[in-house]
């Protein structure tokens, strides 16, 4: 769609997103440095470098929790969708804060080590932080390596180079990283903590994250079960009642083979196209109708509702699907039309 390569397609929304994130991180670090000394065990007064290590570390943990919470939040309430669009920026910022934490640890405890700091940190455990058989530093290192890998491959270039399925599978490593961070926290910082505040915050964050994922999964399971088995086996796929699709928005259904299809409502009429953007498989159903065109939430690629074609001078095309109404329900023909095939939009009450 674009003839000119742009490394990062900055938009006002992205700039605001990043500015808010950076401001929130700075605010958190400032608050931590201000509040944490008052909550610390008086027998073990916090020195400046330790304070910064913990500020960066706890900040990275909370950012990672937020990054993982955005998915279920967006599934539970579409108002959170704008947070999802630029989630990769949040991931990269999390990696930078985690790097600052690692640098603070290496630069303080191992600055005068005989062996290289990276070797020293992996071959030693701080006194008093050791449980039999459990070393907490390698978990932190593993999480950081995963975050670095994901941040390095977060650019659209890697999405296009690896292909969406492999890229998505690679980025599922974020869950492994989160598990490592929880182990790092549970057998590291929590044991060194003088007050229960860090433990309560960590437990609350993990509890909230797990609850959100379970709630979102439960809602999706209920939606799946709501479709009667007979309808599921029928040649036409039930989309649902027309009023379930908001004006200017999309509604995603999955066919028997897993293929996602987005059904959009525009000016009282429905159109269906594949949910995968022709640019980089972005989730079209999470976008909206702008200027009469389906607009991809990832990079703003646009397609006409009536034939799935990008408006001139662009040439991208989407597969379209036929729709019909029966017994007050919208039905979708699961057989895709060739990309760019015109299909008259379905007028609905």
């Amino acid at each position: 769609m674009s003839a000119r390569f742009v490394p990062v397609s900055w938009t006002p929304a992205k700039l605001v997103y990043d500015a808010v994130l950076v401001a929130a991180v700075l605010l958190y670090l400032g608050l931590y440095i201000w509040v944490a000394p008052a909550l610390a065990d008086p027998r073990m007064a916090l020195d400046g470098p330790t304070l910064m290590m913990r500020a960066y570390g706890s900040c990275a943990f909370l950012l990672l929790t937020l990054a993982l919470a955005i998915g279920p939040l967006a599934r539970l309430d579409p108002r959170f969708l704008p947070l999802l669009y630029n989630r990769r920026h949040l991931g990269v910022l999390t990696c930078l804060v985690a790097l600052a934490h690692a640098e603070a640890v290496l630069g303080w405890y191992f600055a005068f080590s005989d062996t290289p700091p990276l070797v020293a940190v992996l071959s030693s455990e701080p006194a008093g932080l050791r449980l039999p058989g459990v070393a907490f530093i390698p978990f932190g290192v593993a999480a950081l390596l995963i975050l670095l890998l994901l941040a390095a491959t977060s650019h659209d270039f890697w999405l296009a180079f690896l292909g969406p399925p492999l890229w998505k599978a690679l980025h599922m490593l974020i869950y492994v990283a989160y598990g490592c961070v929880v182990l790092h926290l549970g057998f590291g910082a929590l044991q060194a903590a003088g007050s229960p505040v860090l433990g309560l915050v960590a437990l609350g964050s993990v509890g909230l994250l797990v609850t959100l994922h379970l709630l979102a999964a439960r809602r999706e399971a209920a939606a799946d079960a709501a479709v009667a088995p007979a309808w599921r086996e029928a040649p036409w796929r039930v989309v649902g009642p027309p009023e379930a699709i908001a004006e200017g928005r999309g509604h995603v259904v999955h066919l028997a083979d897993g293929e996602p299809v987005a059904v959009f409502r525009h000016e009282g009429r429905l159109s269906a196209v594949t949910n995968l953007c022709a640019h980089q498989n972005g989730p079209l159903g999470e976008g909206r109708v702008v200027d009469g065109c389906i607009t991809c939430p990832w990079h703003g690629f646009q397609y006409r509702l009536e034939d799935g074609c990008a408006p001139p001078p662009y040439s991208e095309k989407l597969a379209t699907y036929r729709l019909r109404l029966a017994d007050g329900l919208v039905l979708l023909d699961p057989r895709p039309n060739p990309p760019g095939t015109p299909v008259p939009p379905l007028a609905v009450p």
Partner: protein, 46 residues
């Protein structure tokens, strides 16, 4: 296929719902009161 994927996703998060808090609680419960002398120290300059 999509429903199967969702069912797996739900089971994974159910397992994590038990595992992650258990790790944190275990770590917190097993911590020991340490004297300031036992805290990690910075390596001295050569």
């Amino acid at each position: 296929m999509q429903r199967r994927h969702r069912a797996v996703h739900r089971r994974v998060w159910l397992a994590l719902a038990i595992l992650l808090p258990a790790i944190l609680l275990a770590g917190f419960a097993l911590r020991e009161d340490r004297s300031p002398a036992e805290r990690p120290v910075r390596l001295a300059p050569p």
